[in-house]
């Protein structure tokens, strides 16, 4: 069995995996980081989005062995060590950007990737970037609002709370 080593949320992580082990399985089952969710397992929903070398990827559609040597970040790495939420997470709370919360880890990781490449996205750009993140609860308005608020924009004018 191949051995994989990577950096996850700044800490070294390694383990033995099968060729077919998915990155999400390695993260959840080997590392016990269950914040990354599996919604569809068919590359559609985005609940499993993590960052690999700074880029958002669906961890249900990448082999763990492909992440050997990579820098991986998951939702567990977003808050500060003392538990203070990252501004995106805080904005989701402030703007009621979640209901059941199942899609939220993927939404937050996608939002973080978006804001890293586009610090002040328009509402249309946020919606376009979330094309691969599906939420069955919120209707998206408050997610979009939260992401725009996290980018420091005035969200008074967009969609009702």
């Amino acid at each position: 069995m191949p051995k994989v080593s990577m950096t996850v949320n700044g800490k070294p992580a390694s383990g033995e995996v099968e060729g077919r082990t998915l990155l999400v399985e390695f993260i959840r089952e080997n590392l016990g980081l269950t914040g990354t969710h599996v919604g569809c397992d068919t590359s559609q929903c985005g609940a499993c989005v993590v960052h690999v070398d700074g880029r958002a990827v669906k961890s249900c559609t990448m082999l763990a062995a492909e992440a050997d040597g990579a820098q991986v970040s998951t939702i567990e790495g977003m808050a500060a060590a003392d538990g203070t939420l990252n501004p995106i997470q805080q904005a989701f709370q402030d703007h009621h950007g979640l209901q059941c919360g199942f899609c939220t880890p993927g939404m937050v990781m996608s939002a973080a990737a978006l804001l890293a490449e586009n610090p002040r996205p328009s509402e249309a750009e946020v919606r376009d970037y979330l094309e691969g993140n599906i939420c069955r609860c919120t209707g998206y308005h408050n997610i979009v609002k939260a992401i725009m608020a996290a980018s420091g924009q005035d969200v008074g004018q967009i969609a009702a709370e």
């Binding site: 060729g19 669906k58 559609t61 996608s110 993140n133």
Partner: protein, 260 residues
């Protein structure tokens, strides 16, 4: 997924050697192959990853051509500005996470009848370069999910001649984000090419009648009287053959108008 061995070579030569075993299959971005393996529609004994090979990465401009390494992800093609229409096409494949992993080589090797890159390659008269030879796009696409590639042959690069003007008009299937129908129109000094994806049971094809009409007069009006037969078109829950045949005309006119 059935179990398989995994190899991640760092040179093309090692990848070719690893693939000489008949049980082995290349893995690029995995955005098509991993879902296929999960459905147990493929059972390779070994996957040979192409993502660790620097020779297969990156974008080069040489003369009037844009050359893209086979393992270059869609997001990187979307970010180049030498061939803006190709950037736009790449920027509208799937979603950001799919674009960060999915590659041009994987898309062309797969030749999904509704994929975007086949339309760009055929519509641009691109050359598919492999570890063995160079294949003209006109000879490469041999039917739905079928190509001229031999067993174990690896696409290394795709070379696009940059046109004078071009556009891609995609009518998106909203659930899958693939093209329900997409038309790629490009004008070169020596002619006009029109390639259509998403429509035919034979996969991507050139609409030669429209090419002739556009060569005489590059305007949406020039193709407005042309019709295609719905009989050979894909018919499924998303649309009948006649509906798709009609959409080909609409998308071609939109592409011509957008190319200006």
């Amino acid at each position: 997924m059935y179990a398989f061995e995994f190899e991640r070579p760092s040179t093309l030569a090692d990848a070719v050697a690893a693939l000489s075993d008949g049980e082995a299959q290349p893995l690029s971005g995995g955005q098509t192959l991993i879902p296929t393996l999960k459905q147990r529609l493929a059972s390779p004994g070994k996957l040979v990853s192409l993502t660790g090979i620097s020779e297969l990465q990156g974008i080069r401009v040489d003369g009037g051509n844009l050359s893209i390494g086979a393992a270059t992800p869609h997001a990187q093609v979307a970010a180049q500005d030498h061939y803006p229409v190709l950037a736009h096409l790449a920027a509208n494949i799937g979603d950001p996470a799919v674009r960060n992993r999915g590659t041009i080589g994987g898309s062309l090797a797969n030749n999904d009848p509704s994929a975007c890159y086949p339309a760009a390659a055929l519509g641009s008269g691109a050359t598919i370069v492999t570890n063995k030879r160079e294949i003209a796009a006109d000879d490469y696409f041999t039917g739905m999910f079928d190509t001229a590639l031999d067993e174990g042959e690896i696409i290394t690069e795709v070379r696009f001649p940059v046109p004078q003007r071009a556009a891609y008009a995609k009518f998106e299937q909203p659930a899958s984000r693939f093209a329900l129908v997409g038309a790629f129109v490009a004008q070169y000094a020596d002619g006009v090419r029109v390639a259509v994806t998403g429509a035919s049971n034979e996969g991507v094809f050139r609409w030669t009648e429209a090419e002739k009409a556009l060569l005489a007069n590059f305007s949406a009006d020039a193709v407005s009287g042309l019709t295609l037969d719905g009989a050979g078109m894909i018919a499924d829950v998303h649309g009948s053959g006649d509906y798709r045949a009609h959409l080909v005309g609409v998308m071609t006119r939109r592409a011509v108008a957008a190319a200006g």
